[in-house]
Amino acid sequence: MVKNNGKKSNGNKNDENKNNGIIINVSNLTRDFNGFRAVDNISFSIKKGEIFGFLGPNGAGKSTTIKMLTTLLLPTKGSIIMNGHSPITQPDKVRKTFGIVFQDPSLDDELTAYENMEFHGILYDVPSNVLKSRIEQLLKMVELWDRKIELVKHFSGGMKRRLEIARGLLHHPLILFLDEPTLGLDPQTRNHIWNYIKELNKKEGITVFFTTHYMDEAERIADRIAIIDHGKIIAQGTSDELKKKTKTSFLEDAFISLTGKDIREEEASTLDMLRMHRRMFKR
């Protein structure tokens, strides 16, 4: 009965949302892996043009959520509507609407930077008369135009990440997913990348969904933040709202107050260990 009510109100919300410019609506999303619940009944919605930060410790379910949103993984339960389509039932329609920068590189090392871009453009059916100029413009934006004919295997981590961002934008997506986009990068490169993304968001109105476990990034970049832990969203709102809710003056304190612990790796519970092992076996 409760479930029914929930569904009904969600249905109504969906109708309203179209008018309010909601581009992503997730309700009661759940994913199990062999009896282990990685994502547990989460619901949230993101407005068009918003920068949404998904904050949580390692293994909290951030990447699993992104995989479900981007059609790479089927949910066990729940529904997702992205730009009016469901990644579960209409994956091809949804795939056109987003660009994604994965946590680990997903470039072809044996191709050049330009070829990686070209490959992507053709896969996404970017008209050939604009493809060249768009690639040039994007590679210039990420400052890789001078190195366009170099094989990607000779690139550094930061360069690869910049190339991936350029590639993710090539087909003019409405939504850009960034899964820990600055993990393992130096502060200069991090700053650089976030500046691009903020500018893009302002200029083109691209909706940005990013995951991170850096508190400062979430606070500085995101319009709204959802904090996820053990597969559940435990709080969402603006950085100020989260601080107010927990009566703290720093997001970091709010985070600790909400999740109870600081850095997860340092005191990994058995469940986290299990997750780690699972990840290692998955590889």
């Binding site: 995989k67 981007t70 059609t71 790479l72 993984l73 089927l74 091809d92 329609k93 795939r95 056109k96 987003f98 994604i100 994965f102 680990d104 590189p105 997903s106 470039l107 072809d108 090392d109 044996e110 191709l111 070829e115 070209e118 490959f119 992507h120 053709i122 896969l123 996404y124 059916d125 998955k282 590889r283």
Partner: protein
Amino acid sequence: MKIKAIYVLWIRQLKRYLRSRVRIIGSLAQPVLFLVALGFGFGPIFQKAGGGNYLDFIAPGIIAMAILFTSVFTGIEMIWDRQFGFLKETLVAPISRLDIMIGRTLGGATVAVMQGIAVFILSIIFGFRPANIFSIPLAIVFMALIAIIFTAFGTAIASQLEDMQGFQFISNFIIMPLFFLSGALFPLQGLPNTVVMIAKFNPLAYGVDGLRGALINQVHFGLGTDLIVLSVIAVVFLVIGSYSFSKIQL
């Protein structure tokens, strides 16, 4: 079906192949070794037994072997794409899993056929003389069929594996037996019935037979049978490969 997407996946495989000269030369070394060592080593005995020129006999078998190894390997290479992350890039793209599978298979198969032609040319240098130059196009058709079957086979296996650790197992328990029990190195005539029966269920046996028929006019099953069996198996393997590929979740 998106022809452009299939084309770009195909050209990617070719570019990767043509850029890795070490791989090209490395994968030519083994067939050449077999050709030279066995061709010249067993030549006199084969001649004495009334089998004719052994080099001419095994050259089509060695070409088939080069294609078998290259195509299974390019299929299995998908595991690397998975580990290095590139697979995700193709899986989130707005194209069907079937198109990805077709593009990959055609790319891998083209690479394997090129490898087969390279071995063919090398075997001519070492003294192989095809009986009929005009049936070389038919030989290339057989090369393509072998290549498509085993690239799809490799992709199907790669869809089930998560790392290269299983590759050794597959190599020793599937690929080598397929090769040795295909009649690539010895005639199937007069062999124990069990071996002949096994060969009848081995797709490569029909490929070797077809190549031998086209290149030196010696057939065991018959060219028509070879063509039909190989075409049917190619379709079946493409379907199996596409199905297991479509089940991939990351």
